[in-house]
């Protein structure tokens, strides 16, 4: 049933995740589409209203300069501290926390600290990731390390991480230890994922497989899963529910990563010019890995071209993308992304919880994949694609995609 819902839900205007104007409806969704309005934009706005003030208060507890750097990074102000006209951030992870908590009986008072902690951890990781990857842009603006210097950005990230742990620890009542443990574990998982991600692109092309991608996926899945677990701890959800929620969030993360990789290679771009950012940088994204492991001639040709040190020119990039597709990389990635989304949604169904709130949570899951739904909603396989034979463990090289 849930897969059918994925297929049949009319394209939602994912003003949160998609580029404006991108058509996100599934290709010719069969059957009568239910025209229920998408609840997610309202859910996001509601969460933002509840959580943002608390998040800002948490940041204000930092050393003033570190608070400024963090505020700039969050998009709340310019480098000089002047408030931004349109303070950014959809706070998806915060919403994941509040919805999950609500589904298991927790109110805003209990859930908000968890939501705050989730956003703090997410942004700690972005601050440090941008340094580690030498990314000069974040959300369309110069990265914090570019504006304020690497040293200050290191410290701001450290401070956000520490503040996140403090936030869960200060939750009143008996939930604090479990919530803090869950958060600390999530942080360790994220870091492990980032380590795997740093290693991924340095690996010999012939020795890079789905497991390596999976390991790097922990960068994203770890936090999503952590959000679910922190929320469940705050709400006192029963153990089977916690397990199901964690698993669902983990699979969501992988589906997201894979869908993002697909987007990067074959997504529409404004103006029709394709960026091929990942290929340009030689990143081992999931479609690429599937292609390289396919044992096809296209795969070998791809390996040879990626193995050469030469930076691909513009024309070359489109050819490389074609090779990936020819070697089954696109079909394989679509298939596996669908598989993980399906698992995520089934796990959600089995988690229990208040039905209305779980419906909202499911809607949020789909919203996260919003503009990617077309990769996931095609019921038929692409021509030539074999049935899934790969590992059932989520495998996705954690990329920049979900880090919004």
């Amino acid at each position: 049933m849930s897969d059918a819902r994925v297929l049949n839900t009319p394209g939602t205007d994912t003003s949160g995740t998609g580029t404006p104007g991108t058509d996100t409806s599934g290709p010719g969704a069969p059957g009568p589409a239910a025209h229920t309005p998408d609840p997610v934009p309202d859910l996001l706005a509601e969460c933002r209203e509840a959580v943002l003030p608390a998040l800002r208060r948490a940041v204000d507890r930092l050393h003033p300069r570190l608070a400024l750097i963090s505020s700039y990074h969050f998009g709340w102000c310019g480098p000089d501290g002047r408030p931004a006209r349109d303070p950014g951030g959809k706070m998806l992870r915060a919403t994941l926390v509040t919805l999950t908590a609500r589904a298991f009986g927790a109110g805003p008072a209990e859930a908000v600290p968890g939501a705050v902690a989730a956003e703090l951890v997410h942004n700690f990781s972005l601050l440090h990731d941008d340094l580690m990857d030498a990314d000069e842009l974040r959300r369309g603006r110069p990265s914090a390390w570019v504006v304020f210097g690497a040293g200050p950005a290191v410290l701001a990230g450290d401070a956000l991480l520490n503040e996140a742990l403090r936030t869960t620890a200060e939750v009143p009542g008996a939930a604090a230890p479990a919530a803090t443990r869950a958060l600390a574990a999530a942080v360790e998982t994220i870091i492990r994922g980032q380590a795997a991600d740093l290693e991924l692109d340095g690996r010999d092309v012939a020795r890079t497989g789905p497991d390596d991608y999976l390991a790097a996926c922990a960068k994203t899945s770890g936090l999503l899963s952590g959000c679910a677990e922190v929320a469940a701890a705050l709400a006192g959800a029963p153990a089977p529910a916690v397990s199901a929620l964690r698993s669902a969030a983990w699979d969501l993360g992988i589906a997201w990563q894979m869908a993002d990789d697909l987007e990067n290679l074959w997504g529409d771009t404004t103006g029709g010019k394709h960026a091929y950012g990942d290929l340009r940088r030689g990143k081992r994204t999931y479609p690429v890995i599937v292609a390289l492991r396919s044992g096809t001639r296209a795969g070998s040709r791809l390996a040879a071209r990626l193995g050469s040190a030469a930076v691909p020119g513009e024309g070359e990039l489109a050819k490389l993308a074609d090779l990936v597709a020819e070697a089954g990389g696109r079909a394989g990635a679509e298939r596996d992304a669908r598989h993980h989304l399906g698992r995520a949604l089934r796990a959600l169904e089995g988690a229990g919880g208040d039905p209305a709130a779980m419906d909202d949570l499911t809607a949020l899951f789909r919203h996260v994949l919003g503009r990617h739904e077309r990769w996931l909603s095609a019921g038929g396989a692409s021509p030539g694609a074999a049935p899934p034979a790969g590992p059932t463990e989520p495998a996705a090289p954690a990329e920049k995609g979900p880090a919004r």
């Binding site: 507890r61 930092l62 050393h63 300069r65 570190l66 440090h128 340094l131 580690m132 990857d133 690497a150 040293g151 200050p152 290191v154 410290l155 990230g157 450290d158 401070a159 991480l161 520490n162 503040e163 742990l165 403090r166 620890a169 200060e170 604090a176 230890p177 803090t180 443990r181 600390a184 574990a185 942080v187 360790e188 870091i191 492990r192 980032q194 380590a195 795997a196 740093l198 290693e199």
Partner: protein
């Protein structure tokens, strides 16, 4: 022997160590022995890449993973944890998890500090960022901080323990920031310098003592008293560190003579000297404004002499002595049996009388 050549042990702080303080090195070795296995187990849980960096930094192996025994410092903070637990009446070895957590938090700050300051050497070896790159060292520092938090959680000491570590980490991050910011400034006040030292060093040592007290099931008042001891000791320790940074014997400290001067640090002796308003202060300010790459050993000896003549050495030694006395007063106020506090007392004396 010229003034500039005398080490800090010869020009003492004002509080002489009691006889038989050979106890302190023994307690430090004990702390190392107790904490090292906990650290190793924790680090083994990291991703291999982060593990490689962490283990290198902790002196267990070289950059290729071949075992070495370079050590991870004097284990001062772990000793404070364990001895505070002991002072609270706990069985020996109580607090090992907290000791490891505090050491990890401290080491995480060193990993990041070296990146931030671009310091190429740490504990007589290339700094981790030199051996593994900035990304690797940054990541390992993150991993160690997260690990520290997890270790505290595992101790099941509740919110006060988590809060103790979090608060101290918050403080030392702030202190690191200030320290970094001072470099850009021509003038730093004594008050700012002291505040920075309190955050950078005092806070974590205070937290170490508090965590030890909590592990030893001490009541709130005892925990607070032990924390106050640790904070004051941390200040004394930092001031001694600052003295060694200028006048320490390179063979003992492992750092070149006058290293802090060469780095143009606004350490307390320097700030106190600059604050003195005399002719030496002006000459020191001029010297400090010059390009460090022009320094030779003569320049540094001259700078050290200026700091000393302007009273920077004496003031710092005096402050170190004062903070040591405060620390010992806090300890005394706890009214614990002397045998329980003797090790902490010995450690405090040793740390402020040391020459490296």
């Amino acid at each position: 022997m010229t003034t500039a050549d005398t080490t800090v042990t010869e020009r003492r702080n004002t509080v002489p160590a009691p006889p038989g303080d050979a106890g302190a090195p023994r307690w430090l070795r004990h702390a190392t022995d107790v904490t090292d296995p906990v650290l190793r187990e924790a680090v083994l849980s990291l991703h291999p890449r982060a593990r490689a960096v962490a283990g290198y930094h902790l002196g267990w192996w070289d950059e290729r993973g071949r075992p070495v025994a370079a050590g991870w410092g004097k284990a001062v903070r772990p000793a404070l944890v364990l001895l505070s637990a002991r002072a609270a009446g706990a069985a020996p070895g109580t607090g090992a998890g907290c000791a490891a957590a505090v050491q990890l938090a401290h080491d995480s700050s060193l990993l990041h500090d070296d990146i931030i300051d671009r310091d190429e050497t740490r504990r007589n070896r290339p700094a981790a960022w030199r051996a593994f790159g900035v990304a690797g060292a940054l990541l390992a520092g993150d991993a160690m901080l997260a690990l520290a938090a997890s270790l505290i959680q595992r101790e099941d000491l509740g919110a006060p323990a988590t809060a103790a570590l979090n608060e101290a980490v918050q403080q030392f991050i702030g202190g690191q920031f200030e320290d970094m910011a001072f470099e850009e400034r021509a003038e730093v006040s004594l008050a700012e310098c002291s505040t920075m030292a309190a955050r950078k060093t005092g806070a974590l040592m205070g937290a170490a003592c508090r965590l030890g007290a909590l592990a030893g099931r001490a009541d709130g008042e005892r925990a607070a008293g032990l924390e106050a001891f640790g904070r004051s000791l941390g200040l004394a320790f930092q001031h001694v560190d600052d003295l060694l940074g200028i006048w320490g014997d390179p063979e003992r400290t492992g750092k070149p003579a006058g290293a802090d001067l060469h780095a143009r640090k606004k350490s307390l002796p320097v700030v106190a000297a600059l604050d003195s308003g005399g002719p030496e202060a002006a000459r020191l300010a001029e010297l400090y404004a010059r390009d460090p790459s022009l320094d030779d050993p003569g320049t540094l000896r001259h700078a050290a002499a200026l700091v000393e003549r302007a009273g920077g050495r004496e003031r710092t030694a005096g402050l170190a002595g004062r903070h040591l006395r405060e620390a010992l007063d806090h300890l005394g106020a706890l009214e614990l049996p002397p045998s329980r506090t003797r090790p902490l007392r010995d450690l405090a004396h040793w740390l402020t009388a040391r020459d490296h």
